[in-house]
């Protein structure tokens, strides 16, 4: 789960990191009031979960509250990479002497948090890493002790010459690490970390990506989830304990297990079709889950055929078969359904489906081919 910039900066601020004044708003009127209170020039920043907001016109400078309001009118409601801007952050226009990058990520290879800093801040750090890797400095953190003071100082010396700024930056890194741990983050980033002409070090932007596995024990973070920026069908799926991701194709896939779900999508593509979704119905396959899955799948107008691919191990094929029969009794489905079941209680499942008028296949390739063919016919 990603936090909005305004949410991330609030958590950084709570950890003691100096961030500029500012507030979030969802109407141009409120933006004008915030700009009035701040005084002087302000920046209006779109709050969406994508990079490249500036290039897309989602970040605009305003000389006064009136201009801030005009900018907010343009930004609120605009679409950036498919996401509609519903909130903007209003901050004072900072005077910037230098821009750096400071971030900490959970590194999969070392299995530890890794700090990354760069004096080349304010731009996409992946680009810096690709074009000028010598400008990136790293330190691996022992998660049992956290970032050590000397590690933070060492990194900070790569950013600044002035010892007062080095000390400020090192303190910010230790505070950022605390915010990273306290939020259950997999990434915490300040880009840019700026210096002002009078020598202060400030976090001008903030990014926090949260490990979904942390949300259960961190209600203060879980409540920051913004459902309005998510695909409604994905929210519905999550509430039904289904793992669903909407795609653009027309062959809907309903599978048990994430790996098999991905492999099924890939096989749809292999046979010339396009998957409409990723959907893992999980291990237990109660009829309720199958009903929810079918409701979500059939609400997508692009879908032209539905493919079930179930490998019965722990999941019993007869449970899924019963689920399909119950579901199709509860909701009307006008789309062709191709069912592939194999494994535990396969024979019983085939019998249940046959009685309800469904044909069941046992071979994955044959089922995928058939679903692709049917989708092609309907399109």
């Amino acid at each position: 789960m990603n936090l909005h910039e305004y949410q991330a900066r609030a958590r950084l601020k709570a950890a003691g990191i100096p961030v500029p004044d500012g507030d979030v708003a969802s109407t141009p009127e409120a933006v004008e009031q915030i700009a009035q209170r701040i005084g002087g020039g302000v920046v209006v920043k779109a709050q969406v979960h994508v990079g490249g907001r500036g290039k897309a016109g989602g970040i605009k400078l305003a000389a006064d509250p009136h201009e801030a309001r005009m900018n907010a009118e343009k930004i609120l409601g605009m679409e950036i990479k498919g996401l509609t801007v519903q909130k903007v952050l209003v901050v004072p226009a900072a005077e910037i002497a230098s821009e750096s990058y400071v971030g900490v990520i959970m590194d999969r290879t070392s299995q530890r948090p890794v700090f990354m800093v760069s004096p080349a801040g304010g731009v996409d750090i992946e680009e810096v890493a690709a074009t000028t890797p010598e400008k990136i400095f790293k330190a691996t953190v022992d998660p049992r002790f956290g970032i050590l003071p000397h590690q933070a100082m060492d990194l900070a010396f790569h950013l600044y010459d002035d010892i007062a700024q080095v000390r400020q930056a090192a303190t910010i890194m230790r505070q950022l690490y605390r915010a990273f741990v306290d939020a259950g983050a997999s990434l915490a980033e300040i880009n840019p970390l700026i210096t002002t002409p009078d020598g202060r070090v400030l976090a001008l932007d903030a990014k926090l990506a949260i490990d979904d596995n942390e949300l259960g024990r961190r209600p203060d973070v879980a409540e920051l989830r913004d459902l309005s920026v998510e695909e409604p069908s994905e929210v519905k799926a999550r509430n039904a304990s289904l793992s669903y991701i909407k795609l653009d194709g027309n062959v809907a896939c309903c599978v048990n297990g994430a790996g098999l779900a991905m492999a099924t999508m890939d096989l749809v593509k292999y046979y010339g079709g396009e998957p409409a979704n990723f959907l893992d119905i999980g291990g237990s396959s109660s009829p309720d889950k199958v009903v929810a899955a079918l409701e979500i799948i059939t609400a997508d107008p692009n879908v032209k055929s539905i493919l079930f691919n179930i490998f019965g191990g722990i999941t019993r094929c007869d449970d899924v078969a019963n689920g399909i029969v119950t579901a199709t009794g509860q909701i009307t489905i006008d789309l062709p359904i191709v069912i592939r079941l194999t494994g535990t209680n396969e024979e019983i499942a085939v019998e249940i489906l046959k009685r309800a008028g469904f044909e069941a296949l046992t071979d994955m390739d044959a089922a995928v081919k058939e679903a692709v063919r049917l989708a092609g016919e309907a399109a």
Binding site: M106, P143, R217, M265, T344
Partner: protein
């Protein structure tokens, strides 16, 4: 031979009286696994199914029950501590089935296990099975058969699909290991490749990866340098969109890194037979055996 688990595995089940723990314990016993103990705090002194002794702690399961390996089915919020407990009790192998352990907890756990030289499989994995010998975890026994192929995978049901195809073609397995779909896991591809390479009975290896991270690329490099046995590989997620978590916590393309295409290219470069679809596993292996 087999890797990691065999007839000498004496298993303690952590969470033996829970819904998942009790169901799978019955399956493991039915398969012939030597389950010597169970642990549920507060239920020490009782017996599971009138036979397996239950202890309050893993330490007792080791000292009194004689366990040398543990399998964990406890809920996510207790799972990391269950791993620490097993490590402190002195078992050699811990298999953690539980899904949902936060990655920061795993990060703190890994150096602790390394200091104690304990092997962890998982978390968020289906466990391992050495057909005809022992099963630790949830891989359905009936789809496996004894044979000469080693299987290692980040997935669950996709692994079953591929094992099923192997068994149907008469290609039995020495051991099948599900290493798990989380970003930070214990035993990785390279550990399994090294163990299969060293195992006399294993003649060829099937590696099943997916998008996210660089473990498959590292496994490919390792294979090119150290593995003499034939290896075939599959990568799931060729059609996965970037930036989205595909069910498994670790299955996510970040930026332009961790795509199926780059992993398949790395396997190819290492001389590994790359399956375009699961059904390719049998012909690709037969070409190489």
């Amino acid at each position: 031979m087999s890797i990691f688990i065999d007839r000498d595995t004496k298993l303690v089940v952590q969470g033996i009286t829970g819904r998942d723990g009790s169901f799978h314990t019955k399956q493991m016993i039915e398969y012939g696994t030597c389950v010597v103990a169970g642990v549920t705090p507060g239920k020490g002194g009782q017996r599971f199914e009138d036979s397996v002794p239950i202890f309050n702690t893993v330490a007792e399961a080791v000292s009194e029950g004689g366990a040398n390996a543990s399998v964990i089915y406890v809920p996510a919020r207790f799972a990391a501590d269950a791993v620490y407990e097993a490590a402190d009790a002195g078992v050699e192998l811990i298999v953690c089935i539980t899904e949902g352990i936060p990655v920061q907890d795993m990060s703190r756990l890994m150096p602790y296990l390394a200091e104690r030289r304990v092997r962890l499989i998982g978390a968020n994995c289906p466990g391992a099975i050495s057909p005809g010998r022992a099963k630790v975890g949830i891989i359905p026994g009936q789809i496996c058969r004894e044979g000469r192929i080693g299987v290692v995978s980040r997935s669950g049901t996709l692994t079953y699909e591929i094992i099923h195809q192997l068994s149907a073609a008469g290609l039995g397995q020495t051991t099948c290991v599900g290493i798990g779909g989380d970003p930070i896991i214990g035993t990785n591809f390279i550990d399994c490749l090294a163990a299969f390479e060293a195992d006399d009975e294993t003649e060829a290896i099937v590696l099943i990866g997916e998008i996210g991270g660089t473990d498959e690329q590292q496994a490919a490099e390792y294979t090119a340098q150290h593995v003499t046995k034939p290896v075939v590989g599959f990568i799931a997620g060729q059609t996965a969109p970037p930036g989205r978590r595909m069910g498994h916590a670790g299955a996510i393309i970040s930026g332009s890194s961790g795509t199926a295409a780059e992993k398949m290219a790395a396997l190819e470069r290492a001389g590994i037979g790359v399956m375009k679809r699961p059904a390719d596993v049998v012909p690709l292996l037969e070409e190489r055996l």
